[in-house]
């Protein structure tokens, strides 16, 4: 179908396509072509990433490697894809394509016309960064791409200034915290580079293993430099991931960003952060040093994740802006992902990987539904949503279906991930964590019900503006994502196959 030559180049093309097309968008300027180019880039990348994931899953070793400039492995930049990568890559590409389709009408109503080409250029750079982070096998390259995506994200969040000026303060808050996080990551990579003398992730992992062995006598001792570097890395990534005590930038950034940007960020940015932590903990530093070394990191993560689930859900209940409810709910969902990879067993990791995908679908779809509300009403306050269920049946139906996914009702994708998570927690003997997951689901019922009740049983105010269902280009991607989240809840074979393969490769079990 695809010529071999082209197929070989896919890993590089996935990152280069949005980068070069983004530049061209910025160069062409004010012709209204921006959205078309962005859409083209997203579709190409989506097709490429699906092809790549198929390649990975059908190759015997579960890896595809691409050498930039044909430099041999420890010296050059290597793009390396395994099931974990491939899964996250497909998630990012799918969400990007869907949200780009959604963005056309939504962004046109929120961003001034003469800045549109600039918006789509930055939009493509953001995708470049996110895709690059997931695909690269080089630690420093990861930092650079992380900063590209972060800088693009700050700009995109600040573009919400047309509707609400608080977008600007949210963006600067995010910028300060995000830059500190990225600097910590840079410092952590510096420490690991100092110990190992390499930047290639696999090479780094091997050399760190060798260091552990020579260092360990009777009982393995871990070099302080490695542990310091890991501590910096972990704190930095947690800032990007918005793990509980470091989540303060998230609610405002999601709330005041343009609707399409909220959908993209909620569905991809923090997920990529989760991917980075899994990669650093499991592949590079290794669970022996990270969890069973001098610092029991998994206990910290579990405490943070538990707090995130409980407090995130609790704060979500108290909000009056629906976008903020979803933002706090995102914090809770990140708690589930973090809990999954802190459990350090196969079911827990599978839960984390599968929840990255499932939650991206669900949250992306729900933020799009809110985008429809913002497109028609101009804001997303809870009292303005009263009785919208009859006015916007499709979007509100999609919102409700997504809300069921957040709760984890059977036959939705959320149920699959929570099933794995609870199984993993019980397997690891962490009954209190399993209990917290269940309590979190109950709290989710409360905040979802609060919105659903307002939508369907609230009375529309007298003299409230008459609203119609959104245009088709906004409905299709929303229904696509919500439909997918239900499909993968009913038939979880594909996702769990990939997620289990990812977990097995990470834990070093031979497939």
């Amino acid at each position: 179908m695809i010529p071999d030559q082209l197929q070989h180049q896919i890993p590089a093309l996935i990152v280069l396509t949005p980068l070069v097309l983004g530049l061209i968008t910025a160069l062409i300027g004010r012709r209204g072509l921006g959205w078309w180019i962005a859409m083209l880039a997203s579709l190409l990348v989506f097709a490429g990433s699906i092809q790549l994931l198929i390649d990975v899953m059908h190759s015997g070793t579960y890896t595809v490697s691409y050498l930039m400039g044909n430099w041999p492995v420890p010296y050059g930049i290597e793009y390396r894809i395994d099931p974990l990568n491939g899964g996250v890559l497909c998630t990012v590409a799918l969400i990007s394509a869907a949200v780009t389709l959604f963005a056309r009408r939504s962004v046109a109503s929120e961003v001034s016309r003469d800045r549109l080409h600039f918006f789509y250029a930055v939009w493509l750079f953001c995708q470049t960064g996110l895709l690059g982070i997931t695909i690269t096998g080089d630690a420093f390259n990861l930092y650079v791409l992380l900063e590209i995506s972060s800088l693009a994200t700050y700009t995109l969040v600040a573009m919400g200034k047309g509707r609400d000026r608080r977008a600007l303060t949210a963006a600067i808050n995010y910028l300060v915290l995000g830059t500190i996080g990225a600097s910590f990551i840079l410092l952590g990579i510096g420490f690991l580079y100092m110990v190992t003398g390499t930047l290639n992730m696999m090479d780094m992992a091997e050399r760190l293993d060798a260091i552990y062995i020579t260092w360990g006598t009777a009982e393995p001792q871990y070099q302080k430099t490695v542990l310091t570097g890991f501590a910096f890395l972990f704190v930095g990534v947690s800032l990007k991931l918005a793990l509980f005590p470091l989540h303060t930038w998230l609610p405002n950034a999601y709330t005041y960003a343009p609707a399409a940007v909220s959908a993209l960020l909620a569905a991809t940015a923090t997920k990529v952060g989760a991917y980075i932590s899994i990669r650093f903990i499991y592949t590079i530093v290794g669970t022996d040093a990270a969890f069973r070394g001098a610092i029991p990191t998994h206990v910290f993560i579990m405490v943070s994740a538990g707090m995130a689930i409980l407090l995130g859900s609790y704060l979500a209940i108290k909000q009056d802006n629906v976008k903020k409810i979803l933002a706090y709910s995102s914090i809770a969902q990140i708690g589930y992902i973090a809990l999954g990879f802190a459990l350090d067993n196969k079911n827990g990791l599978t839960a984390a990987v599968i929840h990255i995908f499932n939650h991206a679908l669900t949250k992306g779809g729900m933020f799009m539904a809110l985008g429809v509300v913002a497109y028609r009403l101009g804001n997303t306050r809870l009292q303005d949503l009263r009785g919208l269920g009859r006015k916007l049946p499709v979007s509100m139906g999609a919102f409700t279906a997504g809300g069921l996914g957040l709760i984890g009702v059977p036959l939705t994708a959320g149920f699959v991930s929570k099933w794995y998570l609870v199984t993993g927690a019980i397997e690891a003997g962490r009954y209190e964590m399993a209990a917290i997951v269940l309590v979190g689901s109950l709290l989710a019922v409360v905040y979802v019900w609060r919105v659903v009740e307002t939508i369907y049983f609230g009375k529309r105010d007298e003299g409230a503006p008459n609203v119609q269902e959104a245009p088709i280009t906004m409905l299709v991607p929303m229904l696509l994502l919500i439909g997918a989240s239900i499909y993968f809840g009913v038939d979880a074979n594909t996702t769990s196959w990939i997620a289990e393969a990812a977990a097995e490769t990470l834990l070093g079990v031979q497939p």
Binding site: K161, I180, L187, G190
Partner: protein
């Protein structure tokens, strides 16, 4: 003790510069000063990278002219990495300043306390 301080002086310099920057980020309420603090914070990390690239007795990693073959060079890789990181840092500063200019236009202030009040009023 003195030896400990002296042997790790690059770490001390890094830590001191980073903490000066971090102090500015945390304690100053003026957003431009926060942005400058971020710059100082990152500069500390750049110095750390440069210092780990130093090889004992190594000279600058530019090829020495002539027939000498036993020249020891410092490790140029951290320098190249930091060149990239400096570009990133400059871009961050540019984005931060652009956002701050916009904040000044929309709110009429770049002081964090004022901004908090203005936001609370808007609620």
């Amino acid at each position: 003790m003195l030896d400990f301080l002296h042997d790790h002086y690059n770490y001390w310099v890094t830590i001191i510069i980073m903490m000066i920057g971090f102090y500015a980020v945390v304690a100053k309420s003026n957003l431009v000063k926060k942005a400058i603090g971020l710059g100082i914070f990152q500069t500390g990390i750049f110095l750390f990278y440069i210092s780990i690239g130093k090889v004992d007795g190594g000279t600058a990693p530019v090829k020495v002219m002539g027939e000498q073959t036993d020249v020891v060079y410092s490790n140029p890789l951290p320098h190249a990495l930091i060149l990239t990181a400096i570009v990133v840092s400059v871009s961050t500063l540019a984005v931060a300043l652009a956002i701050i200019v916009n904040i000044r236009e929309k709110f009429g202030s770049i002081d964090e306390h004022d901004l908090n009040h203005l936001e609370a009023e808007q609620e």
